[in-house]
């Protein structure tokens, strides 16, 4: 699949684009690994392990759902990938680099290649939408004019160019989530992690956000989405890892995972 062709389709054409991509993209295991975990454990002092013996491989350009009940370890697993937490034991490779042994000073450079959509948005309430999105580029030292141009382009892609000067608190939940996605994507990361990105949204907004994430995936980014919404798994049919009590209990396509969840 040529990402350029899909990019030319624009964000509004995303639903058809992801369907097309789904039919055309080669199997994930043919493209080399982007994220690998080997016997990974994570435990907080005084608590039972949040993650136990996690082994997984996520290929470059793959779209993966992480699902499971609350407290299953989805958020912790995502945090390990962008080094917000350190594994207690085991090895984690991101883009071939072992981040279990990464130096503290190298973490920022890893994070620049990982866009994160946080469950609680983490938007700065006193800064405009454009400033919030520009935050990522400021860190990279992108000149102001270029920064403004890229921010507006990104806001256009998420359909919020008319809200560039608004403050986040004046936006709806779906719009705020789109700002977060714009911030995560504005520097073209190779990995996008989304933690319950549709958790507080109504069904229509949920699909809008999911289409955006699919579009990002079609453009070549590896996308990992944590969700407990079975309808999303069924609708998009992507590879789904199910976590329970900190362990991966199944690794299958979304339709099967949704049916299993519905069955009980």
């Amino acid at each position: 699949m040529e990402p350029g062709i899909l990019a030319a389709l624009g964000a509004r054409a995303a639903p058809s684009a992801w369907l097309f991509a789904r039919c055309q993209t080669p199997p994930w295991h043919d493209r080399g690994p982007m994220i690998q975990m080997f016997h990974v454990y994570k435990a907080y002092p005084g608590d039972p392990p949040s993650l136990s013996d996690i082994n997984l491989t996520i290929a470059k350009g793959e779209f993966v759902f992480l699902t499971g009940p609350s407290g299953a370890g989805k958020t912790t697993l995502l945090k390990l990938i962008f080094c917000a937490e350190k594994a207690t034991r085991g090895q984690i490779l991101v883009g071939g680099r072992n981040i279990a042994r990464i130096r503290e000073s190298a973490v920022p450079y890893l994070r620049r290649n990982v866009g994160v959509v946080f469950q609680d948005f983490k938007l700065l309430p006193h800064r405009t939408v454009a400033d919030n999105v520009a935050f990522t580029l400021d860190v990279l030292g992108v000149p102001r004019a270029e920064c403004r141009e890229r921010v507006m382009k990104m806001l256009k892609q998420v359909g919020l160019q008319h809200k560039a000067s608004s403050l986040p608190l004046r936006l709806s939940g779906g719009e705020q989530q789109r700002v977060v996605i714009a911030r995560a994507l504005v520097n073209d990361p190779t990995i996008l992690l989304a933690d319950e990105p549709t958790g507080n949204l109504d069904p229509a907004l949920t699909l809008e956000i999911m289409d955006l994430l699919m579009d990002v995936n079609v453009r070549g980014a590896t996308v990992v989405v944590a969700t407990h919404d079975a309808t999303l798994l069924e609708r998009y049919g992507k590879r789904t890892l199910r976590l329970e009590a900190g362990r991966i209990v199944s690794d299958e396509d979304g339709i099967k995972a949704a049916r299993r969840m519905a069955a009980g």
Partner: protein, 300 residues
């Protein structure tokens, strides 16, 4: 990656920080200003003490007493030997001149000296000591040198007075340094505490910066600029305060201490060097305060 863009961002961010918490920054600026004003006054007091010591020290004189039997040529020899040291001026005082001075000092009682069968005063050599040699150790060495010369009976230079003066100066300097150190540490603690309040209100911003890939240096830079700006502003206030002090209180103080300082008065309170020191010191205090404060918020 553009250095210019980053620099612009740091300054913009620092300005935003000041706008975000003006009261906290105001407190920090005032704290630094008070500390620097105190330091400036202390420096002024040191300068005053130095000039006082210099004025008292100019009266330091070393007198070499020769044997009663020593002839005039011996006195000239001693004067020549001691006068060879750079800056020293030696003057031979014959017994007749010494007697005349004594009579003058005794006033009406001086006439009693007329009854003496002969002049009992020995020849002396008086040495005027230059400022560089007015330390106790230099004076002692000079006295030892004089004592070793042939025909010298005794040497007097007011050893005790010189030592006391030097001890006072040393104690004043040490006390001043200690007080300055305590004030500097207290200032850093206060500035750091006030800045922590400002940084705390921006902890979410710091967290997001770190999560999108900002290095610690990147996060710290605007806060360090804020700290340095506070320091410079504090220094400016302190310099203005010292200038006002010098203009309004200076003449009154000078007239109060004129009997000690002499006709030329004390040194000027504000000098270019002091202004430069205050600005550098202010920036350093602000930087240290913000450096300590921001370190706590970087662990994300």
């Amino acid at each position: 990656m553009s250095v210019l863009a980053k620099g612009t961002y740091f300054w913009r961010s620092a300005a935003q920080g000041v706008r975000h918490a003006p009261f906290v920054h105001f407190i920090a600026v005032v704290t630094i200003a008070i500390a620097l004003f105190t330091a400036g006054l202390a420096r002024g007091a040191w300068g005053l003490l130095d000039s006082l010591i210099a004025s008292l020290g100019s009266q330091v004189e070393l007198t070499v007493y020769l044997d009663q039997a020593a002839a005039g040529w011996r006195a000239e020899e001693v004067a020549q030997a001691l006068g060879q040291r750079s800056g020293l001026s030696a003057h031979v005082v014959p017994p007749e001149e010494a007697m005349a001075r004594l009579k003058l000092q005794l006033g009406e009682l001086g006439s009693a000296l007329d009854g003496l069968p002969e002049n009992p005063l020995p020849r002396t050599v008086e040495l005027v000591i230059p400022p560089g040699l007015r330390t106790p150790s230099e004076l002692k060495a000079l006295a030892e040198q004089a004592r070793a010369l042939p025909g010298v009976a005794a040497v007097d230079y007011g050893e005790e007075a010189v030592q006391r003066l030097s001890s006072i100066a040393l104690a004043a300097r040490a006390g001043g340094l200690l007080a300055s150190l305590v004030v500097a540490i207290a200032t850093i603690v206060i500035v750091s505490a006030t800045l922590q309040l400002a940084i705390y209100s921006r902890r979410e911003e710091i967290e997001i910066q770190k999560l999108v890939g900002a290095t610690d240096r990147f996060v710290k830079a605007p806060f360090l600029i804020e700290g340095a700006l506070q320091g410079v502003l504090g220094a400016l206030c302190a310099v203005l305060g010292l200038w006002a002090f010098a203009v309004f209180a200076g003449p009154r103080l000078e007239s109060m201490f004129s009997f000690l300082l002499g006709p030329h008065g004390g040194p000027s309170l504000i000098t270019t060097g002091l202004v430069a020191e205050l600005f550098i010191g202010g920036a350093a205090l602000g930087l240290c305060g913000s450096f300590v404060a921001v370190g706590r918020f970087l662990r994300v």
